[in-house]
Symmetry: C2
Subunit: 240 residues, 2 copies
């Protein structure tokens, strides 16, 4: 990859791409994960690459749910590990949540590599390498999870998650929180709290923000996000 100068207007965006391409080379990120990231990039552009109001509200509500949970768990896949390895460990500590590696394209090798990367970033215990349980309704490889972690969690944060798995976790009766730049994804629609924000902003926000204890309506919040994006496209059309 070509070195990106810090002065480049797309510096952060290009750095994220580099991190993911390196993630593939290191065996942490899957190739399909690169395509998924591209989809997210475009939605981020429609957000103005900022944490908009609806995102901040969802982030604060998510903190409250995680802090109040009995067994809160953060699920970590290859893109999360490539983009925010240090921050996700810090968030786990702040929320007193377990970390579990959970991959769509699961191989033991990738799980081990991600586990090691999280440990290098300060994680004390990482679940997911020896899963004893299965999430009902998914095929075997995608269903695997640990008993102490995701399986018995009451509130689970699943950033950048696949739609089927988000729905299956919901069907188990868990409170599902996601971080997903696409407000129209099946994951976004299935979740109880959908944070439509770039993970590189959302996780640091969640390390800092205060919990929100007021009522929260996820559908209304998603609507607000879509209208924001619609308005932005309209404004951009006027600027051409």
């Amino acid at each position: 990859m070509v070195k990106v100068p810090r002065s480049h207007p797309r510096y952060l965006s290009l750095k994220m791409r580099e991190a993911l391409v390196e993630g593939v080379e290191e065996g942490i990120t899957s190739k399909a994960g690169l395509i998924a990231h591209g989809r997210g990039e475009m939605f981020d552009y429609l957000l103005g690459e900022e944490s908009i109001k609806t995102a901040k509200i969802a982030e604060r509500k998510a903190i409250a749910e995680m802090v109040d949970a009995e067994n809160p768990v953060i699920s970590i896949n290859g893109n999360v590990a490539a983009l925010v390895p240090e921050e996700i460990v810090q968030l786990g500590k702040r929320l007193d949540a377990k970390l579990e590696v959970n991959l769509f394209h699961r191989t033991d090798e990738r799980i081990s590599k991600i586990k090691r990367s999280l440990e290098l970033n300060g994680a004390e215990k990482v679940y997911g390498l020896d899963p004893e349980e299965e999430i009902p309704g998914l095929d075997h490889k995608r269903a695997l999870c640990s008993h102490e972690g995701i399986y018995t969690s009451d509130v689970v944060l699943v950033p950048l998650e696949d739609g089927d798995r988000a729905q299956a976790l919901k069907d188990m009766g868990k409170t599902v929180i996601t971080i997903d730049l696409n407000p129209l994804s099946r994951t976004s629609k299935a979740a109880d709290i959908t944070i439509v924000d770039n993970i590189v902003r959302a996780v640091p926000n969640m390390i800092e923000f205060e919990p929100l204890h007021e009522d929260f309506d996820n559908e209304e919040n998603l609507k607000g996000t879509l209208l924001f994006m619609s308005e932005r496209l309209k404004t951009l059309s006027e600027e051409i």
Copy 2:
């Protein structure tokens, strides 16, 4: 990759992803090309995964420009070769246009592989393997092109092109036509004719459609596309 059943609602979209991931494995597509594809997917979603009116107009105008050109050339990169190898060769024949392989992440090996793939799909002559010229204003590897092909072309079709190169071709005085799902990309803005459509629909359309000889305003056409997307997001927000 998992086999996708034809009945799956996202069949075509998933097949395209498979084709690109295979393209990476065969050395035809670059990893950064996967991210670019993901961005395109989301814009395609905002088009309803259809060739909308503004796209069809641009496709017809593009045919007219290519047919009337003295030396029309189609530039082919790794994503184009992975997604429409057969169709792009047919389009070249219909428009009597030369085919030239031109890569952002250029290696001789990737050029050879793409050239062979086009030849297997019926191309008689493929330019780009032994480039004698450079497009002014780009760094060496990205500037390379053939004398008989892109360098002396008057009208050039550059699908899924990088913004710098699209602008550099424009600066050489060429008529630049692109196919790009992102109406806001630098390529889309630099081009004389921007076809905002999925390449898997745009190229077959261009093989079939009649040329448009009326006036065409690219900015107006792009505005129409952005407003279509804005309206669609608004409608989707009402359906949540």
